[in-house]
């Protein structure tokens, strides 16, 4: 009897750690893989350049030979533009997420290390950031500085930093109270080594989960700004940008707008599904 119980116990951890993936997560992972593939190999996959005109085939409906998703008002291939838009939108979202995760985590660590007034300032800024609608702040910055791609990525990179800062501060404070951090400190390690080599790997899973939860919001924010004509500027193209221009041809050529809209919705949906699943797997305390 006991043997059975023991065997059962031993067999369990492996199973519990890699359970059969839910179908929704598999589909979501597949979709993200497809998007990444499209983004990495845009030049090879896209049948045409994204600014290539085909004036004889303007507003061709989907299914036209040579233009499987149709063309827009200038005869540009919607499929090709879609592929390049996915690349730009994902690039901005990745860049922004990495910036905000880095900034937030470093600020959280600074707050945890120095405490006192440094901590108060970080927390105050975090409260401020959380209480103002980000879209309005972003629009204000764009109004003052004009628009460029690096500025846009940097601006999006300010989105969500306060969540990483709060999480990393809280976790670093509790890690500092644990034996391993104290032991390394006694061995004479510099603070930067303690935080980045020892504490960071221990709290990484929580931060990664937060990243998957913030990422879809960054995509939505960028597409919203681009839709308003204030984000990515032509001749460059992004998903929101395509929807914005497609809106003019809503009655005659709805496919121009529907294709990128579907890409936005499915991508954010897929990442949210993966994020929720990861959260339940790695860190049920985050809600």
């Amino acid at each position: 009897m006991t043997e059975v119980v023991v065997a059962h116990r031993e067999a369990r951890p492996r199973k519990a750690f890699w359970p059969a993936l839910p179908v929704s997560v598999v589909v979501a992972l597949g979709w993200i893989a497809l998007m990444l593939l499209l983004a990495c190999f845009s030049e090879i996959i896209a049948p045409y350049g994204f600014t290539k005109l085909d004036l004889r085939n303007r507003l061709a409906p989907p299914g036209t030979v040579g233009h499987w998703l149709g063309t827009d008002e200038l005869g540009r291939d919607v499929l090709s533009r879609l592929v390049f838009s996915i690349r730009v939108s994902l690039l901005i979202a990745f860049g922004a997420t990495i910036i905000s995760a880095t900034v937030g985590t470093v600020l959280g660590f600074l707050a945890a290390h120095f405490r006192g007034w440094v901590e108060q300032i970080v927390l105050m800024l975090a409260d401020f950031q959380a209480s103002m609608p980000f879209l309005i702040l972003a629009l204000a910055v764009l109004a003052f500085f004009g628009n460029s791609l690096p500025l846009l990525v940097g601006l999006m990179g300010l989105f969500g930093w306060e969540r990483y800062a709060r999480i990393s501060r809280g976790l670093a404070i509790s890690a500092n109270a644990q034996g391993y951090a104290g032991a390394i400190r006694q061995l004479g390690a510099r603070p930067s080594r303690i935080y980045f080599r020892h504490i960071l790997p221990n709290i990484a899973s929580t931060l990664i989960v937060s990243m998957t939860l913030v990422f879809p919001e960054v995509i939505l924010l960028e597409s919203g700004l681009s839709f308003l004509g204030l984000g990515v500027q032509p001749p460059m193209t992004s998903l929101g940008n395509m929807v914005g221009y497609g809106r003019e041809y809503l009655t005659r050529a709805p496919w121009i707008m529907l294709c990128p809209a579907a890409a936005i919705v499915l991508t954010t949906l897929a990442i949210s599904v993966i994020g929720d699943w990861l959260r339940d797997r790695l860190d049920p305390t985050l809600k």
Binding site: A143, F144, S223, F227, L250, A261
Partner: protein, 309 residues
């Protein structure tokens, strides 16, 4: 309680100060504010007068305090486009925005909260699953996509409603619906999870164990406690009554504050942008304050805890 409120009011003022600082820093970093606000065509003597009036030749810390003073007196500059005071331009757009956001808020609260409560009480039922599905859709479908889909169906295909403009009440239906539905889904999800968390508490089990009827357990014990996190979200929605319709107003060419903001940003009409930024901060901070007051009513623990501390 008094101490609690004083702390909250202090924080609200601090947030406003931070927004003003943000505007000040960004404005100074972006170039000569005299040229930016008055426009490049302004005659040199006007620029000089402006520089003097705003103290642009003073040391930067003095400028900072003067800036605060000017804003406190409502001196927010003039619009670059027609030279009218920015405050006037913004204020006259507020009713149009509220005509969309207030009914939308009623939809959010009227549908979102009951749906969330029902879903939590009937966990796993068809309605629960439908609410969760709608909540996911409400999060992943951006408002401009929802708006354009509604236009495609109701304006283009069916021809029932106009697709944009502000001529009659029928023009308001689609924008209100766009704003309301997405928000209702989000609110339903929050209410549901708040309720589920409360329903798992010991005092709920204790109440049902001592024989309190389920209906009374829910109305007397679960709902008041679940109201606290829900009020926070509703407060955020109230705070974004002014700024929450930027995208939707643009899609439906509705002449509200949001559309004014987009046009002002595109034209780099800084005085107007700055004015809207402050207005948004003010509404946000005010609604946060109201939420804090409400906490005091909803949660007696908060009153005693901070009162004694």
């Amino acid at each position: 309680m008094l101490r609690f409120l004083a702390l909250r009011i202090g924080r609200a003022l601090l947030t406003i100060a931070l927004v003003v600082t943000f505007a000040f820093v960004v404005l100074r970093l972006s170039g000569d504010p005299a040229l930016l606000i008055m426009g490049p065509e302004a005659p040199p003597e006007v620029i000089a007068a402006f520089r003097k009036a705003w103290g642009l030749d003073d040391p930067i810390w003095m400028q900072y305090f003067d800036y605060f003073g000017a804003i406190a007196q409502g001196e927010l500059g003039r619009s670059m486009r027609d030279g009218r005071p920015a405050v006037e331009l913004v204020v006259e757009r507020i009713p149009a925005t509220l005509a969309l956001t207030l009914p939308a808020l009623l939809i959010k609260i009227g549908i979102g909260i009951p749906a969330g409560i029902y879903a939590a009480l009937h966990r796993g039922s068809m309605i629960d699953r439908a609410v969760m599905l709608a909540a996911v859709a409400g999060f992943t479908v951006p408002s401009f996509v929802l708006a354009l889909l509604l236009v495609l169906v109701f304006a283009v295909q069916l021809g029932w409603l106009p697709s944009g403009g502000q001529d009659s009440w029928r023009h308001a239906i689609l924008p209100i619906f766009t704003l309301g539905v997405g928000g209702a889904a989000v609110l339903a999800r929050f209410t549901r999870s708040a309720m589920l968390e409360i329903l798992g508490q010991h005092y709920i089990r204790t109440a049902s164990a001592k024989g309190v009827p389920w209906r009374a357990v829910v109305t007397n014990h679960a709902l008041p406690n679940a109201a606290i996190p829900t009020v926070t979200i509703v407060g955020f929605m109230v705070g974004s009554l002014i700024a929450g319709a930027v995208v939707v107003e643009s899609v439906f060419s509705w002449p509200g504050v949001g559309r004014l903001l987009v046009v002002a940003v595109a034209n780099r009409d800084l005085a107007v942008v700055q004015c809207i930024l402050l207005l948004v901060a003010l509404t946000m901070v005010t609604s946060n304050l109201i939420v804090d007051f409400l906490y005091g009513f909803l949660d007696p623990r908060l009153r005693t805890r901070t009162g004694s501390a």
